[in-house]
Symmetry: C2
Subunit: 341 residues, 2 copies
Amino acid sequence: MRRKLTLKQIAKEMDVSISTVSKALRDSPDIGLDTREKIQAFAKLYNYKPNNIALSLKNRKTKNIGVIIPEIVHHFFTTVVSGVEKVANKRGYNVIVCLSNESFDREVINMEMLASGSIDGFIMSLSKETQQKKDFHHLREAINQGMPLVMFDRVAEEIYCDKVVIDDAQGTYRAVNHLIDTGCKRIALITTTDYVSVGKLRTEGYLNALRDAGMEIDENLIVKIEDTRECDEQIEELFESQTFDAVFGVNEIYAVTAMREAQIRGFKIPEDISVIGFTDGILSKNSFPRMSTINQHGTQMGAIAADMLINKLESVDEDEYYRTEVVKSTLTERESTKKKS
Amino acid sequence: MRRKLTLKQIAKEMDVSISTVSKALRDSPDIGLDTREKIQAFAKLYNYKPNNIALSLKNRKTKNIGVIIPEIVHHFFTTVVSGVEKVANKRGYNVIVCLSNESFDREVINMEMLASGSIDGFIMSLSKETQQKKDFHHLREAINQGMPLVMFDRVAEEIYCDKVVIDDAQGTYRAVNHLIDTGCKRIALITTTDYVSVGKLRTEGYLNALRDAGMEIDENLIVKIEDTRECDEQIEELFESQTFDAVFGVNEIYAVTAMREAQIRGFKIPEDISVIGFTDGILSKNSFPRMSTINQHGTQMGAIAADMLINKLESVDEDEYYRTEVVKSTLTERESTKKKS
């Protein structure tokens, strides 16, 4: 059973041309699916090893893209998935979504499962736990296997691959500046713990904006939230213990929760307290008053990530260069901030 | 090449026992992976068809579950996915999510892609277009292949499979009754077009509640929305042309949009206009005032669906009975409705 086989022998055995065998083993659509599958099965049966394994791997197209997101209930990630879908479908690819649920183990399990033949390449955003552990071996393995990877939003500097990020620090700077420009004097920040890369960058943007305006930084006005499900209490505590005339929230849940808390206490928005959030999602659009936000352009980020990945998948050359695409966030002024006078 | 093959012939050709061939074709771990793959490849090459395809398929375990949802930006579907994840992960399964984007074609493409070896079974909710077309051939094909299917929320009566639904009509009846009990006299309904199964059932619940209370049904107070993205205009139009003291929305976007429109026009909630939505999601919890809703228990629905599917996957007998699990919705009273006196 274990005789070593050549392309020529397969061709003879199957009564087809060598070119047909070669194309079939590269899964070329020139060859009918039935013939292709038979030739592939025959080659597998006799342990036929093509000279260029990499080439054969590269040509084993599933036309599926795997997307791994930290959670599905966070509106931003769902908009990114929508953007990926739009471009991928247009270019003939299916999209498979898996969740890490902010867990390192689940991220690893999902990547291994998808990498074992279900997809051609990955688009992903890291789980909180992965960012905390700084263990990226699973990403390196996928890349070493020849599986292209595009990271978005929560990315790892240590990993060489294409990336799509938003200008987190500059976006926040822009938002805080808008609050300063419209007369706010004491601006509270509701942010995440520092190991979440985007939370850290947005905190930096806040600090820089205050410094550049010559305003005092009051640590009592900075709330760092570990678990979003418990943000209500920490925000209530902020209102209870401090006075301020503006709030910047690094995501829309924090911002909308602050807005609620202000309204419960009888503050008028924006007259008494101005509020801006990051991520222009479903909550910002539907709040009352409608919330001014930094638009994170999730759909656009997803579309760019999909184009980057598919371009890499379909490029003829082995491209060794990686790009980081920085999407420029924009300020959407609605009703929760004062107008510039 | 196309001679008809028996187990015995395969065994002879491969120089192994018939039992080894049989086990290999059922993917039994008793047989070494290499031998198993060769026997399977050989069988495929010669178009070997086992007598019991279902059995052989049933034993090819991927430990992956495929979930197909109509859209990812709708909060309810994401809570169902969370529920599926929770149970599936606990029971040792991975979850793969695909979106139909409310399109029939994408639903078919995704099902075919997943059914061809990526997963052991499906959990799905129909796209709007599939409900409109009433073409369910792709579901029948998957079931005929021996691929268990659990439908949730938007289900097809015509398909025999396990189902998880909410008591849509009764839940709505309960909500409208609550509005009547708290003194509301003219109750508007914001619903979907009738071909969306759940929208139709909720509309029925509304009509029954009014009838049972001996209240007049005014067609002018019923708004049917085709495309959620255009609900703003239709709801504005309702407020412009009609007077009423309560609104029931069949999903939380419609309800929260009605609440906004009321507030813009200076109505107090709930004093002037009471509002209840269906689906207790992120918008209901974060609106101001917080919205009273019928809780659709998406996480629980997902958990039940996952348990039903995995039980079927792991059952030894061919179970020919299908169950429909009806989850009982509950009324969550918050601040957008009056208290019973």
